[in-house]
Amino acid sequence: MKNKHNHKHISSVTIVSILVVSLLLGSSIASSGSETAKAGEVIYTIADSTGDWGYPSPHGHYPRGPGYVRMSFIFDTLVWKDTQGFVPALATDWEYIEDENAYLFHLRKDVTWHDGEKFTAEDVAFTFDYVKEHPSWWVDLKSVKQVEVLDEYTVKIYLKELYAPFLNDDASTLAILPKHIWQDVKNPSEFVNEEALIGTGPFKLVDYSKTHGTYLYVANEDYYLGKPEIDRLKFVKVSEEMASTALMRGEVNATAIPPETVVEVNGKGFTVINQSGDWNAKLMINHEKEPMSSKEFRHALAYAINRDELVEIAQRGHAIRGSPGLLSPNSPYYNPNIVKYDYNPQRAKDILESQGYQLKEDGYYWKDEEILELELITAPRMGFERVAEIIARQLGEAGIKVSVRSLEWKTLDSRVISQQFDLAISGHGGIGGDPSILNKVILGKFGYSANYTKSESLNQLLEAHLHEMDAEKRKEIVREIQKIYAEELPALTLYYPTWYWGHDGSVDIYYTMGGIARGIPIPLNTLAFMEYKAKVKAPAPTATEAPIPGFEPAISLFVLISVAYLIKRRRKH
């Protein structure tokens, strides 16, 4: 009788022990031989919380900055940017010919495609024509009239009209395609085989996994600037919450890190770089609806909101206070001489009273027997809900009753676009790049755009700066735009969040001046990966880094002994 009972018992114990032992064995095997790379190869691993950004061909990646960045390791543009501004890429030099309204590009003569074919001016001309025919997410070539091949290594690009953003938005963004491959491609977005990845760039793709969100590149031996010192470049998926841990454990070399972990990461000897002023959180104001349609009323709102408190509390100090002119103090186009709307609740109250509102005992303003009550819609992302709560309280203190409602983000977007709202929290990036973005975020119809076309002078200036080829004069116009925008106040920029990247210093990653290509604020400029420094400082081993010594063997031993004991006991019966 006992025997039978024990038999059951032993078999379940055996199963569990086998599981545990194999698991522990597995962990030691997997952590020992984990690289396919040859000895001495330099491997650089970058973490990303989303992982999959699409097939890294110019037409295959998803329409997001990280997708473009993954493509930019394989393809080149005519012009590129570094920390200081424009630098040569496929073009060695370029000039603007005023009389003809054309750009003349002299191309490098030592460039070959990854398949060995020679790169020529024909490829450049082909790319412009191809992208005009097959629209791309990143470039709108409506300003380009015609591309002329002058000789094998010279092209002239004629513009339809004066167009100031051409160099940034087109020449340094458009990835040049090999004509001999793409000329037969009818449907570029579905062209996702190896041929679609033949570029001129510093790296070649070895593997891409949509499911696991990983990319593996190898250095292009024949790159025209020399072979990159990074032999293998990896992108792996690591969730946002685990990114700092993965960096400190040495599993990845670089990653975006949450602001809360900056001090810890820095303390462990890693380099932390930051950037702010590319992205802004905005208070969207429905300027088509009473009472927000009054400019003075919008001013009252701005005076009643303490943006410093939003930075300190909602963003825990990891942000810069918003400028009512939209562009951040970090932008070369920033205008400091605009109306600032420094926090002044009394001023807000004065404006409301001049508009015929009366403060009642309940602490709120009333007009025509009606309480002044607004709805503020927000979405559960990027800490917006906390921002909304604080704004509601601040406006409440100034006598404006505000109810907060949280919606799904896309729902909020469509409500803002169709102007079915009073106030909303939204935001967008791109303001660190070319100021052509202003036209989109002031005039456009998007969930993050002010959608404001009422001011004639603003409309004229927004048109004018696009056609001003003189850089200094253009800057003047953009400054003027900020001034008028701040006075009209169709939306209020609340703050510019600060973003952080941590890395081990082996590659000097940096934020590109005005962002990569059109203005992507990711510090993964291909040029940085040309050079590898021996690790400046090896990550200090910490208690959390390695498994507790002897822990795994101890468990295995314990399990083995228990199994042996039970088997022995069973035999006795």
């Binding site: 997001r64 900055g65 629209p135 990143w138 696991h212 896309k410 935001g427 993050y448 507790i548």
Partner: protein, 327 residues
């Protein structure tokens, strides 16, 4: 009777198919806006917009879209993903094995564990071991699965550091064969444990309950009186009879566990269908949502069917038509 059962499945299937089509489209926000999303740098020119509307067939009337969707399913064509820029079937099938691995092993493990725990607990009713097991399970029942997941992740992944933080395998590790399997198993441990732990309490309580009721039955007394071994009475006689409600609820649990996996996959960045559905929801990627929901629907319906059939194996008194046969 058999045809009635099949037609029930067919009707359920059709209703779900229509909902799969309609629900994503009833959500506010259109795919084109979602694709451009918050990326202000993207140039959505009118020409591109028109081209995309046409490519995604969004310019067609809803009725026609539904027709195309239905005929597509018949042909095994689930359309083309807006965001992933690939055939839906390809995207979903790449994610499916990971979900099946996670769900399947969790379903088996949680069912087996709750049956064993329920039998042992019911047998020892009122004793300390029963009481402590019951208390522990009740406490666990109070936690949502993602909470268990986060705790496990912090404890074993971050602090002790001997299990991977996320994903389904080590990227570009160059492992193959047995080592690759072990690597996958190592990645599976935490999400599987979290999902299994959250599944155990309800089945365990049910099993314990039926076990206690069954133990009062006269045939158990007979078995004991015959002088059968304790284990034999416990498992072969009482246990086998008490197992029936568990099998019935397993079919229902498949649906619940699919939902549970969605959160677990998000926490552990496990590349399964749950994570795919979540991302596609954000992108308003109707074709992917339709495809993924379709696969999940088929999965749940098939699982229910299998459970229904298993039922007759376990309890021969019940025929496949659900009618009790006289002995």
């Amino acid at each position: 009777m058999k045809t009635a059962k099949i037609s029930t499945y067919a009707i359920a299937f059709l209703i779900i198919l229509s909902l799969n089509f309609l629900l994503p489209r009833m959500m506010p926000g259109d795919p084109l806006t979602a694709i451009c999303g918050e990326e202000a740098l993207i140039e959505m020119t009118p020409e591109l917009r028109t081209e995309l509307m046409h490519r995604f067939a969004l310019d067609e009337p809803l009725g026609k879209q539904f027709f195309v969707y239905l005929t597509g399913i018949v042909r095994g064509d689930f359309g083309y993903s807006y965001y992933y820029n690939a055939p839906v079937l390809e995207v979903v099938l790449e994610a499916l094995p990971w979900t099946l691995l996670l769900l399947g092993s969790s379903l088996i493990l949680s069912t087996l564990l709750s049956i064993i725990m329920g039998i042992e607990s019911g047998w020892r009713r009122g004793r300390n071991s029963d009481k402590s097991l019951l208390t522990a399970t009740m406490i666990m029942n109070g936690f949502p699965n993602f909470f268990i997941g986060i705790v496990l992740l912090l404890l074993f992944g971050v602090y002790l550091g001997f299990l991977p933080l996320q994903g389904a395998k080590t990227p570009y590790s160059g492992l193959s064969g047995l080592n690759l399997m072990l690597d996958i198993a190592r990645h599976l441990v935490l999400p599987l444990t979290a999902l299994t732990l959250s599944q155990i309490p309800s089945s365990y309580l049910l099993m314990r309950n039926t076990m206690i009721t069954t133990l009062k039955e006269p045939f158990v007394l007979t078995a004991k009186a015959k002088g059968l071994s304790e284990a034999s009475v416990r498992y072969k006689h009482a246990g086998r009879n008490a197992i029936l409600p568990i099998v019935t609820t397993t079919g229902v649990r498949v649906g619940i566990i699919v939902t549970g996996a969605l959160f677990i996959e998000m926490i552990f960045s496990y590349p399964g269908v749950g994570l795919l559905i979540y991302n596609s929801l954000l992108m308003r990627d109707y074709p992917i949502l339709q495809g993924a929901f379709f696969i999940v629907t088929v999965f749940v319906i098939v699982a229910n069917f299998v459970v229904d059939s298993l039922y007759t194996k376990i309890d021969p008194r019940i025929g496949i038509d659900g009618v009790e046969h006289a002995h």
